[in-house]
Symmetry: C2
Subunit: 231 residues, 2 copies
DNA sequence: TTGTGTGAAACCGTTCACAGCG
DNA sequence: CGCTGTGAACGGTTTCACACAA
């Protein structure tokens, strides 16, 4: 964590090695930048300007430049940013390196299976390595290349997996108990698709992906004058 | 839009009839309050305090009270808010009345079907009344009680439906052209599940539900010290 | 006395504007 | 000359704090 060249007791002025913290909206946009950069790279581009990346992701040029400060990649006024370098830097920043992160999925209902196929088809730097369910008809099956285990084995299996990320796609009633299990198993980040707010320790991050809420928001703004926005 | 008792040219000081505008975060929380209130009502409660509603939804009491200002429902210091009245007021505010809003779904892949079953099983005040797809094997089928029509018929069918809300669940490549079709058909609110940012007129609201982004955010915070948060 | 309703303050993210550089 | 990097200003949301009501 500490710079070797750093004098003892005197904090480094520019901590180059340790990643800079960033606000949640910035993290979200970095993820979009990453995807847009991959597309641009596939299309044959090698450099990109902030205003181009902005247009691709629905942001502003100033916003892009501000966001990119945290990943510590310099752009040139002449050629813009190097797409490959920037992609790698963002990947390292968000996912801790090229190999990405591993996640587990709890709940193999329709939504869970949709998530599986979604993340198997594209390789977003994040892979689902195991699934869990209580339904005996699902346990043992291999869905989208991912084996389903009984929920009781969660703690045991997670110990060897070393994954900190989990997806909850179970009915609302079961979500809290699943969250408790996951937290016990060492999970520190949860994507929660169940329509309940989970009670977890403060060091565990929960992202509530609330489909009902998203649709109701759209319904609200569909019937009011409002600026277009992205979430 | 104008109050009948209002003097001509003089704006009403307190426009009671027309709904107050609210910020996006407030809209999102109102949706969560609505769901929590329904659960509380089903559990037999009839009144609720702001701090209780806050605990149920992961907000703070002050936040709840501030949010509820826009729906113009008064609570009593002794008994709190009337759950039934509050639910009705929020429903009216978000969805324009008890009957709710109608939406159409474009794209009957795994994600689209998951959305269908999700919104058929619970009745969130929002119903999906038609689906569209280009795949001939899907067209004509009735999935989860919802008929699938060919995409070419979208404009024609939407004319009679009078729906302003649409869900895009098609591959990224097709999303923009589908959005164009929907906008032409009069849609003013879109929930976009495709991982691209859509280009739409400024009066059309787009909510990007970006599953990759959500998971990457979780992955990021799973490996950093951060406060738990809900989105 | 506890909780509501709400002005006012604090906070945080976005936008502006410009120096610096290729 | 146009773009990057960034301090500073701005605007909006959250939080505070307190008058008021039951």
């Amino acid at each position: 964590m500490s710079n070797p060249a750093e004098k003892p007791g005197i904090p480094a002025v520019l901590p180059q090695a340790s990643p800079l913290p960033a606000a949640q909206p910035t993290i979200e946009r970095l993820s979009r930048y990453r995807r847009a950069l991959k597309v641009a790279l596939r299309d044959g581009a090698t450099q990109i300007f902030s205003h181009q990346l902005a247009k691709l992701t629905g942001a502003t040029a100033a916003q892009v430049r501000r966001d990119l400060m945290v990943v510590r990649v310099a752009g040139s006024p002449r050629y813009g940013y190097d797409i490959a370098a920037l992609t790698e830097a963002i990947t390292a920043y968000l996912l801790g390196g090229r190999e990405g992160r591993r996640a587990v999925l709890v709940g193999l209902g329709r939504l869970g299976r949709a998530m599986l196929s979604y993340f198997v088809s594209r390789r977003p730097g994040l892979s689902i390595v195991a699934a869990f369910d209580t339904d005996p008809s699902k346990v043992g099956r291999v869905v989208e290349g991912c084996r389903c285990f009984p929920l009781e084995e969660l703690a045991m299996r997670m110990a060897g997996l070393g994954t900190a990320v989990a997806i909850i796609a179970v009915p609302a009633k079961a979500a809290q108990s699943v969250a408790d299990l996951l937290v016990c198993a060492g999970v520190t980040g949860i994507a929660n698709f169940a329509p309940v707010s989970l009670d977890v320790p403060p060091d565990v991050f929960v992202e509530n992906v609330d489909l009902t809420m998203s649709l109701e928001k759209v319904a609200y703004y569909a019937h009011r004058p409002a600026k277009a926005a992205g979430g």
